[in-house]
Structure formats: C-alpha cells, structure tokens
C-alpha cells in the first residue's frame, strides 16, 4: 500500500512540475511583478513593446532544441515551436519584425537579463535565479 501511495505522490509531483516547468524572469530594476500568460506571449511575440515605465521590452528566447523552450511555448503561446517559428518567418518576410535573440541555456539567459534593464526571459523551474527578478504568472 505504501508503495502505491509513494508512486502516486511521484506522479502528482511530476504532473505539477510539468505544468509549470519554467520561470519567467526580468531585470531587478523592473517594477512589474505579475503578468498573465497572454501578456507574456504578447511580449515575446513583440506585440507589446513597452514596459509600464516606458522601457523597451527586450525578450530573450532559448534555442529551439532546449526542453524549457517547448514547455514555455506550449504553456504561454499555446502553440508548437514550429508554429512560432512560422510566425517569425512571416514577420521577417513581411518586414514587420524580427524574432527575439536566442540563448543556448538558462545561465546565458539569466546573465543577459541581469545586464539589460528591459529584458525578459524564461528559464527552467530548477534554475537559480539570484541576480534577476522572477515574475508571478497569473492565469
């Protein structure tokens, strides 16, 4: 019986971790503390380009092969990575915009966000985010 309860706990914990397998981070000087998934999506798609204090939003993506990008893209954009890449391809061809810069791992994202006032990025749920500010995500 104990074995089954233990397995059930692992399953529940696993599902919870998967549901929120990322943290959204901004520069410590940023006064924003909470954003909805829809607002975050608009910032990463460059549909909203200014923070409340007037700073330019500087979104930072992770490379397409990273696991956290898939979790973030599924959770925030509600689309596949392929669909988001198609969106940016269309924007580039039509001259509307260019995609966010891509960083290869959590550490690089944290470093960039800590050095740029308008930056916003996402990292794995397990990443150490000291030096940057973690946003609360409202649903």
């Amino acid at each position: 019986m104990r074995k089954y309860i233990f397995l059930l706990m692992i399953l529940v914990i696993g599902i919870t971790v998967n549901a929120q397998g990322y943290k959204v981070i901004v520069n410590q000087s940023n006064s924003t503390s909470t954003l909805s998934e829809d607002e975050i999506s608009k910032l990463f798609l460059k549909k909203n380009t200014k923070w409340a204090d007037g700073k330019t939003v500087d979104p930072i993506d992770q490379v397409a092969s990273s696991g956290v990008r898939k979790v973030f893209t599924d959770g925030v954009h509600k689309k596949s990575i392929s669909a988001i890449k198609s969106y940016w391809q269309q924007a580039i061809f039509a001259g509307i915009g260019t995609p966010p810069l891509e960083k290869s791992d959590d550490d690089e994202v944290i470093k960039y966000v800590s050095q740029n006032a308008g930056a916003i990025g996402y990292v794995s749920a397990s990443a150490n985010t000291s030096g940057v500010k973690e946003l609360k995500i409202s649903r």
């Binding site: 330019t56 392929s82 669909a83 391809q89 269309q90 039509a94 001259g95 260019t98 810069l101």
Partner: protein, 388 residues
C-alpha cells in the same frame, strides 16, 4: 549664414539619431529562405485563342527559390534584401524583389530608400511560398495588372495607436510592368487565360520592360487581433496601352497612358478561421493618342483558411477581368474568368511544407460569343517547400 544653419540642422539630426541608439544594442542578422518544387498538371485546351504557341500540360521541377537577409546595425536601422528566382524571370530586375534600408525615427514614422515590394495588397507582401497554404497566388496579385510587384524609390510608413491601430504607407518611384508573368513550370499560374491576350503588355511584345514612374498609398486599420481593413491606391503616372489593328489583329501601336487602381482588402481572424478578401478596380487611359482610348480592369477574391496546427485546409473564389484586347476602331474583346480552388497544406515540421490543391478555371460562362478553343479547365498542384 546658410552654411551655419545647415551645420546646425545636421548636428541636430545626428544628435537625434544617436539618442535613439541604445548602448547595449548588438547588431542582428537574420537569414531565411525557401525552395519550392512542384508537380503540376492541367487539362487546358491545347490550342490558344490567338494562335500563339501553347503551354505544356505537365510540369515537375523547381518553381521558386527565395533568399532573404536582414541586418540591423542599430536598433532603428534595418537593411533588408530578398532575392527570388523562378524559371520565368526575365532579368535581374525580377530577381531582386526588394532591397532597401529603412530608418525608424519612431513607431509613427519610418523612412526607407531602395526597392520595395509594393505594400498594397498584403498578399503581395506575403507572396513567398512558405507563408501561404496555397501554392498559387490570387490572380489580382499574380497578374500584376492593378499594381506592379515592386516599386523602386522612397517610402514612408508608420502606425498610430495600440489596440485600434492606424497604419499608413506611401511609396514613390520607378516600377517595371510585369503583366501576367507566368509562374510554376508550365506557365499557367499567373496567366490563367493561357495565351496572353492584350492590354498594356510589353511582355507580349517580347521586350525587356521599361521603367515607369508611379506611386502607391495605403491606409489600414487594425482592430486588435480581430482583423484589418485596408484602403489602397496605385497611380502609374507613366504607363502604356497596346492597341491592336482592327483588321489584322496584330499590334498596331504602343500608346502612352496613365493608370489609377483602387483596392480594398479585409482580413478577419475568427477563432481558428482566417478570412481574406480583396476587391480591385483599375482605369487605364491613353494620354497622347487621338482619339483617347481607355480600359477598365476589375478583380476580387475571397479565401477562407482553417488553422488546424500542422494542417491548414483552405478554399478560394476568384473573379478577374483584366485580359482585354483593345482595337484601333475602339472595339473591345474581354476574357473574364472565375476560379474555384481548394487545398490543404501540411507542415509536419517547420522546415517542410507539403501542399496539395485543385483549381477549376471557368471561362465559358462569361463568353457572349463562344470561343471554340477556350474552354473551362482543371489544374492540379502538388508542392513541397523546404524553408529555413
């Protein structure tokens, strides 16, 4: 005194531009491109209306290849170039579809110089193969009778507002008339009437097109994420019009003419459905001939696409009346067409798209006097697009 004022203005301009450049800006470069290979088949009538050599029925091969590069040395400055090859390009002019530099002073004012895709119908800006579920462009765009594909000159553009946004764009400069430029392998795409009939064609004459002067303007309104309404104008201050000899049917003369085209386009996003619709009208009038000759073109389409993720089924209805023969005695023969199309695009991964589609081109219902060699026909297309 004049010199001092000039220096002062130059200083102000440099200071203004510099104040926009962020210290942390790192130059950005983007490359993207595609290769579009197709298999196509058509059962069109084997003899053309006016006896010019007929096109083939089957084709397989490379229909288009495009390469785009953008470079942003400053946050506000973008340099962009797109080259597109197809078996039907006649010169380097056709390959370089856009190449320009653009400086963004602010969201409401951008200034660019170079060669631009004519920013009127969004279908013209989005004409690249990976961006469309259909492998065939709407005829109001591919026929190039309402506006040229590109204009070389200067452009100002901008947008105002957030949720309800007003966008404007004005472009002025030289353009090359392309007229019903064929696409695909067998040459039916863009020239659905099979044989070039008449109009202001230089292509018909086999000439390398001359450069003409003209401009375009567009005002569009974005309603949040719901849709866009666009109002368009193209004014060709120097164009031409072919007159056919009333007795022989051969080309009689090439007359100088002016063109004005007006268009409206609507784009709606309703849940997973996307509706595109455009209506265009053009008036072409000779400026120096006696008597004055004139022609009117008309075309519209409506297209519905369902976004099913990797799968995108779509259907389209089109009407166009832009193939007209004008004779020296003032008589006119017109060749209007209706097409019904449907298909599906499948994009299993970002880099690969498969498209399958069918078109029915209807001409007989519009003929007052039946043309024996010009019948309704079918067109089938299978397309693979690789992009990066």
């Amino acid at each position: 005194m004049k010199k001092k004022i000039s220096f002062f203005l130059l200083f102000l301009m440099l200071h203004y531009m510099n104040s926009f450049a962020q210290d942390e800006w790192k130059p950005q470069t983007h490359f993207t491109g595609y290769i579009n290979s197709i298999i196509e088949y058509s059962d069109h009538s084997s003899t053309s209306v006016i006896g010019v050599p007929t096109v083939k029925h089957r084709g397989i091969g490379l229909a288009q290849a495009g390469f785009l590069a953008t470079y942003k040395p400053l946050e506000k400055l973008e340099i962009k170039s797109t080259l597109v090859y197809s078996p039907w390009v006649r010169s380097l002019h056709d390959v370089v579809v856009e190449t320009f530099g653009q400086y963004t002073f602010n969201k409401g004012f951008k200034l660019g110089a170079g060669k631009f895709l004519t920013p009127l119908s969004p279908s013209n800006l989005y004409y690249y193969a990976p961006l469309n579920p259909s492998g065939v462009l709407p005829m109001v765009v591919s026929h190039h009778m309402f506006f040229p594909q590109s204009i070389s000159g200067i452009q100002i553009a901008g947008s105002l507002g957030e949720n309800l946004r007003l966008n404007y764009n004005a472009t002025y400069g030289n353009y090359y008339i392309t007229d019903h430029l064929e696409g695909g392998i067998i040459g039916i795409q863009g020239q659905e009437e099979i044989a070039q009939y008449a109009g202001h064609y230089e292509v018909y004459e086999g000439n390398i097109p001359k450069s003409y002067l003209g401009g375009s303007g567009r005002l569009s309104f974005d309603f949040k994420e719901i849709g866009t309404l666009g109002l368009n104008i193209f004014e060709g201050t120097e164009s031409n019009l072919v007159l056919l000899d009333a007795t022989t049917g051969n080309v009689s003369s090439l007359e100088e003419a002016k063109q004005r085209s007006l268009g409206v386009d609507l784009h709606l996003n309703i849940q997973k459905f996307k509706l595109n619709a455009e209506y265009w009208n053009a008036d072409l009038k000779t400026t120096k001939s006696t008597p004055i000759y004139s022609l009117t073109y008309k075309g519209y389409y409506t297209e519905l696409t369902y976004d099913g993720g990797a799968f995108k089924p779509w259907m389209r209805y089109e009407y166009i009346e832009d193939a007209k023969a004008l004779f020296t005695d003032g008589s006119l023969v017109s060749l209007p067409m209706t097409t019904y199309s449907g298909g599906i695009a499948f994009r299993p991964i970002y880099e690969t798209i498969f498209k399958l589609e069918y078109r029915r081109i209807m001409v007989e219902e519009h003929q007052k006097t039946p043309l024996p060699n010009f019948k309704d026909y079918n067109y089938y297309l299978f397309s693979f697009v690789f992009s990066f």
